[in-house]
């Protein structure tokens, strides 16, 4: 693949939008924001769009589906935090406040597309269709990821930072070699953009022109370290241009804007224009996990300031005003959210049943002699304990 071919591709897609390749790759001057915090649709001139960076609004049906997933996501976050306090879950990194990003990351994909989430992306995984208890399996202290990634086209939630972005690149590459039309969304946070694999993944995806959307939820903190100590870049979206891909900033608490921006990114990727980098501005409303004390590194006032920008109330207000969210519709959504929460309560209140002998079963496709010996040793210990 020659450098000329690469430049041609960027100039070709930029021509479609009537802008220069540089203007295609650089994010719009302001982040894309369609809804005000109070749910009012902004004037087009205030949406942050500019020539070549225009975003048609999602349809009312799409918005209602997304709102439903959003409400379920919020309920699940709060239910899980409660289950942790009750000692029924070992740990939970909540995405409270980031649910719009979570929902958009999955809803922009088609069934055959892949999602590569992190440990904080449980709501995205749930929205991809993974059963609630399967999503939360690892957080109750189990040794495995809880679901079959191939059954859902959803990778295990990655605990190491940005290593999964390269796996996303590989899945997209394999699909491209087979001539399949698969798009992959690879998720990470702002702190993760400092990792080496972030760089390698973006570079590989761009060089091989792969249909990967790198979706960065900039929630302002990597545990305790603020964004200013992670990066001196003008924005995380600006990093795209260094790899030869397009970047965009979007209000990560504005579900409508997220759907518009992610929707276009997926279309562009599927049409063969290579990868894109989307930075969503959001905020982690709770501590990193239940084991973290966020009062040691941020002011209460700062956290409270973000309550007014909440993604759930914002979308609800818009749909209310638009006459889409009838009382009956809201009741149905609440019922759905409660039913998922109940599944989690019921599931977590049952003790996990994991036979220790299974620890030896999946190290390799078939057990080595040595593992069989160790498995027998443990079985013998357990038998003597029982006797």
């Amino acid at each position: 693949m020659s450098t000329e071919a690469h430049e041609d591709r960027i100039s070709e897609v930029s021509k479609k939008f009537g802008i220069t390749p540089e203007d295609y790759m650089l994010p719009a001057r302001h982040m894309i924001n369609l809804l005000d915090p109070d749910g009012t649709l902004r004037e087009q001139s205030d949406q942050g769009t500019e020539p070549g960076h225009e975003y048609p609004l999602p349809s009312p049906a799409e918005l209602m589906d997304a709102y439903s997933a959003l409400a379920v996501g919020r309920r699940v976050n709060d239910q899980n935090s409660a289950l942790v306090r009750q000692g029924r879950m070992a740990v939970y990194p909540s995405s409270h406040g980031q649910e719009a990003c979570q929902v958009a990351a999955s809803l922009c994909l088609e069934a055959g597309d892949w999602l590569f989430p992190t440990y904080r992306d449980t709501v995205a995984v749930l929205t991809k269709g993974v059963a609630p208890m399967e999503v939360m399996t690892s957080f109750r202290g189990e040794w495995h990821c809880g679901y079959d990634p191939k059954a859902y086209n959803c990778a295990p939630m990655s605990t190491p930072l940005t290593t999964q972005l390269l796996h996303a690149v590989g899945v997209a590459h394999a699909a491209k070699l087979r001539g399949e039309n698969t798009v992959v969304v690879a998720m990470c946070g702002d702190g993760a953009t400092s990792e080496g694999d972030f760089h390698e993944a973006l570079n590989f995806a761009a060089v091989f022109k792969l249909p990967v959307i790198f979706f960065v939820q900039n929630n302002k903190y990597a545990i305790s370290v603020p964004l200013a100590q992670q990066s001196a870049a003008p924005s995380l979206a600006h990093k795209a241009v260094g790899y030869g891909m397009a970047g965009e900033r979007v209000d990560g608490n504005d579900l409508m804007a997220l759907m518009a921006v992610m929707g276009r990114a997926v279309r562009l990727a599927r049409e063969g224009n290579g990868p894109l980098l989307i930075e969503a501005h959001t905020y982690r409303m709770q501590a990193h996990t239940n084991a973290d004390d966020d009062k040691r590194y941020r002011e209460d006032a700062e956290v409270k300031g973000w309550i007014a920008k909440d993604p759930v109330t914002r979308m609800q207000a818009y749909l209310d005003d638009a006459g889409l969210l009838t009382e009956a519709a809201q009741a149905k959504i609440t019922e759905r959210a409660e039913s998922v929460a109940k599944k989690l309560r019921d599931g977590m209140n049952q003790d996990a049943d994991t036979p220790p002998s299974e620890l030896f079963e999946h190290v390799f496709a078939s057990k080595t002699t040595q593992l069989a010996e160790q498995q027998a040793l443990l079985a013998d210990e357990l038998a003597r304990e029982e006797a």
Partner: protein
């Protein structure tokens, strides 16, 4: 598989190539490197999902020419160059393996594989376990390793212990031309990830091997499996030398010299460090009653240490002497002018043989 760029039909050229190779090479010695190259080509023909990539493996054919001619023959969809980033190469291979491919990737030199260590230790080794067996990663990470070629710093490490210590990785290292072919084919066909260590100093070694016949034997499933199956490289009765990879030839040389002095040494080439063949190793030690482990890697907390421990645990009552080790020193791999002092030599092995309490 639908190709996105044009490429030749490997099946057509393969029949011709194989026939020509057979006619020309039946009685020609082949190099270790050629055996690996042929194994890669045959695997590309045998399975559409095999893809080869890494640094300089395309047009150049690899710095050791192990992928020579593969891009030309199979096209850039099957064998291609990547950006220069080892973690990226391994990480992308993981994704491709998740998505039904069989990547065979090259780390250019042993020490240059270290940037990929997180991907290997945290994901390659654990994906199958983490997904409760739902996701297999049939991938091969080829690593040219060890010294004896006058390489400079970072080009001669024996890094096998790091990988063998990590549950979930299989670790292969061939020592003969025939094994180079068979073991690479097995590694590529394995449902598990294999770290495949190629002793650099053997790349140019030659043996009389009919590769076409070997290929036919392998594909008809008539070849004996090498995985988990140590090879008795030389039969003997007085003591056992247990070794692998680049040290097998040194051990064979020592055994030959010992025979001249009337000492009969058995040489075991363990072939696959993981899975380990306790049975063959212990049967030999129980027979001879004496053992020395020979390996080029530094000896402290090494594969050699592990073998000594296993033999001692299993064969204690058959032992007439402590199990000894002849390994590299616990120093960073030395400069080319000094490497001969570090490498286990036949003389050093024979000195160790002398210490096996023969008088007792």
């Amino acid at each position: 598989m639908t190709a996105t760029t044009s490429r030749v039909n490997p099946n057509v050229s393969d029949a011709t190539a194989r026939a020509a190779a057979q006619a020309a090479n039946e009685n020609q010695p082949v190099t270790f490197g050629k055996a690996l190259n042929t194994a890669l080509a045959d695997a590309l023909v045998a399975n559409d999902s095999v893809v080869i990539f890494g640094e300089d493996v395309g047009t150049l054919g690899g710095v050791f020419r192990i992928t020579d001619g593969l891009t030309e023959r199979f096209g850039t969809d099957r064998c291609f160059d990547t950006p220069l980033a080892e973690s990226g190469i391994v990480g992308m291979a993981i994704g491709m393996a998740i998505n039904e491919m069989r990547p065979v990737i090259e780390m250019q030199f042993d020490a240059f594989a270290y940037p990929a260590f997180e991907q290997i230790a945290s994901h390659v080794a654990k994906m199958h376990n983490r997904t409760r067996g739902n996701v297999e990663l049939p991938m091969v990470i080829r690593i040219p390793y060890a010294g004896g070629v006058g390489g400079v710093e970072h080009h001669c490490d024996s890094s096998e212990a790091y990988y063998a210590h990590t549950p979930g990785l299989k670790v292969f290292t061939p020592a003969t031309v025939k094994d180079a072919y068979l073991m690479l084919r097995e590694a590529i066909d394995s449902p598990d990830p294999v770290v495949f260590f190629e002793p650099k100093k053997l790349y140019w070694s030659k043996e009389q091997v009919d590769l076409a016949a070997l290929a036919a034997e392998y594909e008809a499933k008539r070849a004996a499996r090498t995985e988990g199956s140590a090879r008795i490289a030389r039969a003997g009765s007085d003591a056992t030398l247990i070794t692998y990879g680049p040290s097998v030839s040194t051990a064979m040389e020592a055994a030959k010299l010992a025979a001249e002095e009337g000492i009969s040494l058995e040489v075991i080439d363990i072939r696959t460090i993981v899975p380990f063949d306790d049975e063959t190793v212990c049967a030999s030690v129980r027979k001879t009653g004496r053992a020395i482990v020979v390996a080029e890697a530094q000896g402290f907390v090494s594969v050699a240490s592990e073998i000594v421990a296993r033999v001692q645990e299993r064969c204690f009552h058959s032992l007439a002497a402590p199990v000894l080790r002849v390994t590299g020193f616990d120093i960073p791999y030395p400069a080319p002018t000094l490497e001969k002092y570090n490498l286990p030599s036949a003389e050093r092995i024979l000195d160790a043989v002398d210490q096996l309490q023969w008088e007792a």
